[in-house]
Symmetry: C2
């Protein structure tokens, strides 16, 4: 089923120990869409400026991504400049030029209204809320956010959290949002704020899902008790000798994860676990090249092979051992 | 088969957000021995002072640990004082009183000489080397070290690394020893220094094993090619809402890991993977109480149950899902 994603479509200028690129196509919605496009139909809502050419748009349309929701505005596109050093864990932001993104007001094309899955990428929670309100019939809502919104726009963010089936953030964001240093207790507090499920991204260490009794409504009639509790689930990341550019790894994880979920007819714990693995798989491809380069050209065979590799590096009874 | 462990038997004074304890029984060899005692016979070599009472010794002997190799010297036992705050990731050392440990010269009782498995806990690499040299017939040697030895005693440490089947260290130690920020490349460099296999402990994120073509000599005649490469393997840690005291978690991991290995007749990739899980299991018990309290009283049922839980939180086809 189709995913509607709202978020940034941008240009990134990035420095890493492997080199530098200037104004390469980026943005959360872009990375997400490309990663998710290997699993299901994707529709994007965003805004770009006059520097966004048909060639840039073709990067998405070639992957079957529907870009009619990308608004073209006078001026320049959102431009982020950042650099990574050392462990490549965190970018140092050198510049954020919002440009046309500063006055972004998401508009949902009529053809997008019946999308079953909604992904609210990391943008102003007020905008996330407006998009959510215009999609009353979605089957599932998944969202991201960041330290800036947690710190300075918390009340607005809290309203969005109540609308989420899945919140996808990283360790630091869980600690900041919950005020708890212990991740498990922090996760409990975040779940109490509204999201039915919390997926915490640990960068090179993978990701952990924390569930609530409301995580699997589909299972209600399928033998699960109403108040059933679910164990957390940990998915690995692939140990990589070469990380060329970590930009967009989290959004690519989200794309693989949510794309797989949207491709399945039922939301069960087993489906969710598999989705976590596909998130890791797409994240592992994303960092192999600068920007979206790698995600533009992955084959289904490569995805299947890498998924198998993720199982092999984490399962006791891995084949071939 | 029996494990001989050489390392510190000490008293720890610890402060964590959950409280404080004064002079509780600790030391790497102590945590290791107790954790390993649930899997196989353990023999300890260490030195203690006059403050080490028969009651302290009984903590180990009650678990069947052979303590005849613990030398009693005039003076006080090694005493470490440390505190943890925030994420509990790293202790702040407030005091290290080596006492009788300063002149420790390991002596191997005749009854220990035929031990098949040797564990060199984190002590001066010169002493690790001397113990290793006196045990020419051991089947397997596993060792630990720390930043102090990597920084100031590197040449001595390098000699020990060549003798190791398995080196068990944490992320920071891999980076320091290899000079590489990327963990996978760092692991390759560490393996090139001698250890056949490297297990990297990631604290709350679990552990990763990096293998070389020499990791599984038992498999040489079993169908594995001589130059076979093995994928890394990642074992999870249990997300815990309450970590009372992280002291000894790494040594308890080592004890569970190596204890399980020593209990198996063959060293295969599957056995190694299972050992990584048992390492996580014993580490997860260790942090539930201060000092060695929890490891003194774990039942085989609890271990089996927790092992099952580790599988459940990390495997796609986990039972009960």
């Amino acid at each position: 089923m189709a995913i509607l994603v709202v978020g940034s479509v941008a240009f990134d200028s990035i420095q890493t120990p492997h080199g530098a690129v200037d104004h390469c196509l980026g943005g959360a919605a872009t990375h997400f869409s490309l990663a998710a496009s290997y699993f299901t139909d994707v529709r994007v809502i965003g805004v770009v400026g006059e520097d966004f050419t048909p060639e840039h748009e073709a990067v998405m349309t070639r992957r079957g991504v529907d870009t009619q929701g990308i608004e073209h505005a006078p001026g320049l596109s959102f431009h982020w400049t950042g650099s990574y050093a050392g462990k490549l864990e965190e970018a140092t932001t050198l510049g954020t030029d919002l440009n046309v993104f500063a006055t972004f007001e998401p508009k949902i094309p009529a053809a997008y209204k019946e999308s079953e899955y909604l992904f609210l990428a990391n943008i102003d929670p007020v905008l996330q809320g407006r998009v959510r309100a215009q999609m009353p019939n979605v089957r599932m809502v998944c969202g991201d956010t960041m330290n800036y919104w947690i710190g300075d726009h918390l009340e607005n963010l809290k309203k969005v959290l109540k609308e989420l089936d899945v919140l996808l953030i990283n360790d630091g964001e869980v600690r900041m949002l919950s005020g708890e240093q212990n991740l498990t207790r922090g996760a409990e507090k975040v779940l109490a704020m509204g999201p039915k499920t919390l997926v915490v991204k640990h960068g090179e260490y993978g990701a952990t899902a924390f569930f609530s009794s409301r995580s699997f409504p589909d299972d209600a009639g399928g033998g699960e008790d109403a108040g059933k509790t679910y164990r957390p689930f940990r998915a690995p990341a692939l140990p990589l000798a070469e990380v060329v550019d970590p930009t967009g790894a989290g959004d690519s994880f989200a794309g693989g994860f949510y794309g797989y979920l949207a491709s399945q007819s039922k939301l069960t714990p087993a489906v969710f676990r598999t989705a976590m693995f596909y998130g890791g798989v797409m994240g592992s491809f994303a960092v192999e090249r600068f920007g979206t380069e790698r995600l533009q050209n992955v084959s289904q065979e490569e995805i299947a092979e890498r998924f198998k590799l993720f199982v092999e590096i984490s399962h006791l009874d891995a084949a071939g051992a």
